[in-house]
Symmetry: C2
Subunit: 561 residues, 2 copies
């Protein structure tokens, strides 16, 4: 996997190596500049996969052989010899816990280590975090819209970016709050609950009850006699149609045969897909007939599914019929049989389900979940924060001297100053430099500040050697993007956001299981205040810096003018 | 990989097996219903990966163990025993050659075999073809806009759906007409040419020429003396700045140091990234200085790169300066140094490059290539075409009898009739049924018809036992979506579109190499008439059926009313 990177990382690595800078200490931060989907938050995910990548990070003999064929023939052998020895054993990674709510400009990951290695990790870490966080955030938005009671199922495998894209979608949708996936391999690999019953093709492969074989099913309790389910369902169909005042001949017998056949095969797990033919005159009566026949034997159907048409309207009509059957035939649970829907479900669909008071209980989401059409890429960046000097908070001497000094005599975790440096009196600024694009300098500690109600109200970045803010004490901070004086805040609680997950080539923190990450994500989301959590026109979440960091930023800005 | 599917495929498989239908012959077609991106064509790709999947298709012991944990405990052991024996040895696959231009409703792939297996292949084949074809088509559109002379490079790894999404993007963008990828692993695995030089981080890690070590470079020809490139570049900087009337102190010395250091490391492959500081006053003079110094030693710089700002305007100014340097310093090749650009390049960007007469030679495309934001999913479907009867072209007897007959006494490749069947007098149509969504019945042969100019002008679907149309002979056909009388056409050439690629568990056709697929795609695209090839408001490409198939369709339609 070490080759899963952009070639320029390797040409730069050779450049650093030839210039003798490859072991200079460096630090990089991975963050995004804007919350996706016009929301106020994202979920940070991809950490566990990033750590797995780090642990295994090395170049195989085959990798080196390939690189020899790609890099110029003038490339020194000694460089390849060196590459053979490179791994992540000198890399330290700190991160927010996987599944945490995160905000723009606050580092998700901090990576420290030798310049060459930190450089080589960039593309792969971005690749592992970007889509993971994007699709988890997308899933979280569906979850927030749907509410905690709705069951959400990811069904996007056929629309994902190939097999692995599909697996990533399943995994991170689960973290974001989905309950199930249709993807069996994701179930096997990650332990995500998988679900699925039948498609239209199964129903359309039957045309009459004569095709059903075997026709008998055993009651669930020991000692029961086998019953001809086909005959029983047919007799129930007459009663159901009578109740619904629907002509029994309108109920498609191929569909009934398919339902009966499936119910015989899965008596404990019978779900009816209602819309192969006419939902109200065929699919629903046929389903009720088979479900009532099963009930008579002691089984409960698990639900119905709709894959076309006006889902809200149909769900209401279906619920009415299910309730009527439940009452008439004295089957109390019948009225609350879960109604599942699919068919290009989007955030807008969910909004309409709620607005129109649907009777839907389970939602399958594919394309609009896995491809994130509202914003198909998160756009995380991996930047070297400009470093402050020995004086911590004051800029001593011209930057280039500091930089040279650092290159020549590296000290641990006192990285190079690769950005924003003002050198030799050149007044040229980086063209793309704007307030939003400025990388906040220094190796940082990040704190999440909570209010009385237990909501986080601000993320605060400090220099890592500043003392942590104290709960209950007033602090002066500077909110990014807000000009002028410091803001005074008094947090009720203060949470250090980052933990060190990787040190000396080893994962040094117990990693949570996937369900634990999922629970953490839901907890993290539920702590957010409604104003930050809402999906449309949310209140932006403030990210601030300490006075010290603010001064450093101001000095840097000035130095560059 | 057999588990890379939706669970319902497996529950249906158990349903078929329990009903004794699992070995009934079935046929499915994979196609899309609308060309993506509002264009008139797509590129069909994913075949080789689909065939690899088929060859390896079987359930491992671990897969079976997992399925036992997922399917109900009542699932019969004998089913799992049967699953252990399932493979694709009885499956036949025909397909258009990979990389061909394809159109909506025309099958890309046809899959024949036992019902249970054909059902189990659905999701995986869709997953392998959908994104592959989408991104190849997207790449082809970039290629068509850019013209054959422009170099296109895929740089989307960090924005793709994880590692494998990135690899798929690289591979299928190459097939679609890109020249290079930045993704080293894609280079290693697929032999795609990889490119890459430096990023801003490399440049910003230098602050002055004193940091450059080593400083010397050997001329390319044997016997030359090592030269201090840093000193030589500094002297050239004076001359360049004089020519450009730009103050030499405005040229950032860290940038110069980075260029020199990189040029010493890669004297044959020096490319300057110009926009870390000021392009015109710093990046460009520094590049010219280093490139001219290299030239003096006998090396040619390979280009410049821009990653921000107004790319068209800057490219023109840069070209002017390069030409001026070439003339003044008598370096004829200098004026034509390739200018590469990146930074969120989209189709719109390319259109503006052409409209405004840019001087750009190389374009890097990431997000807008790999995530296909204009349409993030192709939406291929996998359908069982309704089957015609023994009489070929006439419908004998009620459909359900045929269906039952077929189920009971299967004959090879005379599949089940699972769709559109009108059963037991039920007048209910499938709710979503529209003309566009109707699956064309029958196992089909597909022909591409060419006009005098060598352009394909129509794809024609026939029943597979109809004789092939002859070149030069008039044919009566019915264009899908066009009502009324038959259309008369007289093709100059007729090409059967499908070949059998998989039979008896083996790939039975020599598969082309990736570069051959890429060439085929370009040839296929270049044959298209300009009216079908253009990206905006293209003329829809006609897809037609023979008289026989048209009659069959009409009978089916009637039978369902």
């Amino acid at each position: 996997m070490a080759l899963l990177t952009d070639l320029y990382q390797l040409t730069m690595a050779y450049g650093y190596w030839r210039a003798g800078r490859h072991r200079a200490p460096a630090a990089a931060e991975l963050f995004f500049r804007r919350e996706p989907f016009h929301g106020a938050f994202a979920l940070g995910t991809g950490l566990a996969e990033g750590l797995r990548f780090l642990r295994a990070f090395r170049f195989s003999a085959a990798d080196i052989a390939y690189l020899r064929s790609v890099l110029p023939s003038t490339t020194e052998d000694a460089f390849f010899d060196y590459l053979c020895t490179v791994d992540a054993s000198e890399v330290t990674v700190s991160s927010v816990p996987e599944g945490s709510v995160v905000f723009s400009r606050v580092p998700l990951l901090q990576v420290k280590g030798p310049l060459l290695v930190v450089q080589l990790l960039e593309t792969t870490l971005l690749c592992l975090v970007n889509y993971a966080s994007l699709v988890a955030t997308n899933a979280a938005r569906f979850r927030l819209l749907a509410g905690p009671g709705m069951k959400l199922m990811e069904i996007g495998l056929r629309r994902a970016q190939g097999p692995d894209g599909g697996l990533s979608a399943s995994k991170y949708s689960y973290i974001g709050g989905f309950d199930y996936t249709s993807n069996v391999l994701a179930g096997k690999l990650y332990g995500i609950p998988v679900r699925g019953t039948i498609a239209h093709s199964f129903i359309m492969s039957f045309t009459s009850l004569t095709e059903v074989q075997p026709r008998q099913v055993l009651p669930p309790l020991a000692g029961g006699e086998p019953v001809d389910l086909a005959a029983l369902a047919e007799s129930w169909l007459q009663r159901v149609c009578e109740l619904l005042q629907s002509p029994p001949e309108k109920a498609n017998r191929g569909e009934l045969a398919a339902f009966v056949s499936y119910a015989i095969t899965f008596p404990h797990n019978f779900q009816g897909l209602l819309d192969t033919y006419c939902v109200m005159r065929s699919g629903l009566p046929n389903f009720c007939a088979v479900a009532l026949a099963l009930h008579q034997l002691g089984y409960r159907a698990i639900g119905v599914r709709l894959d076309s048409g006006d889902l809200v309207q149909q769900s209401k009509e279906i619920r009415r019929v299910l309730r009527a059957c439940g009452t008439t035939f004295q089957v109390p649970w019948f009225g609350s049989i879960p109604i599942a829907v699919s068919n290009d479900i989007s955030e807008q669909s969910l909004e309409s389900f709620i607005r129109e008071g649907s009777e839907i209980d389970v939602i399958g989401v594919g394309t609009n979940l896995v491809t994130c059409p509202l914003q198909p890429s998160l756009g995380c960046v991996y930047k070297w924060p400009p470093q402050h000097t020995r004086g911590h908070g004051a800029l001593h001497g011209p930057w280039h001297q500091l930089c040279v000094a650092k290159t020549r005599s590296p000290s641990p975790y006192r990285p190079l100053l690769p950005q924003l440096v003002e050198v030799n009196g050149s007044p040229c600024l980086k063209l793309t430099e704007e307030e939003e694009k400025m990388t906040i300098p220094g190796i940082k500690a990040v704190y999440r500040l909570y209010d009385d109600a237990g909501h986080p109200f601000m993320d605060l970045m400090a220099l890592e050697d500043e003392s942590a803010p104290n709960a209950g004490q007033e602090l002066a901070v500077h909110v990014l993007g807000r000009r002028g004086e410091a803001t005074k805040v008094r947090p009720t609680a203060v949470e250090p956001l980052h933990r060190t997950y990787f040190r000396d080539g080893q994962v040094c923190e117990v990693l949570p299981s996937l369900p634990e990450v999922r629970s953490h994500a839901q907890a993290s989301l539920s702590q957010l205040s409604p104003a930050h959590r809402r999906l449309r026109e949310p209140q932006p979440y403030p990210v601030a810096v300490t006075e010290k960091l603010h001064l450093l930023l101001a000095e840097l800005r000035q130095a560059r003018q």
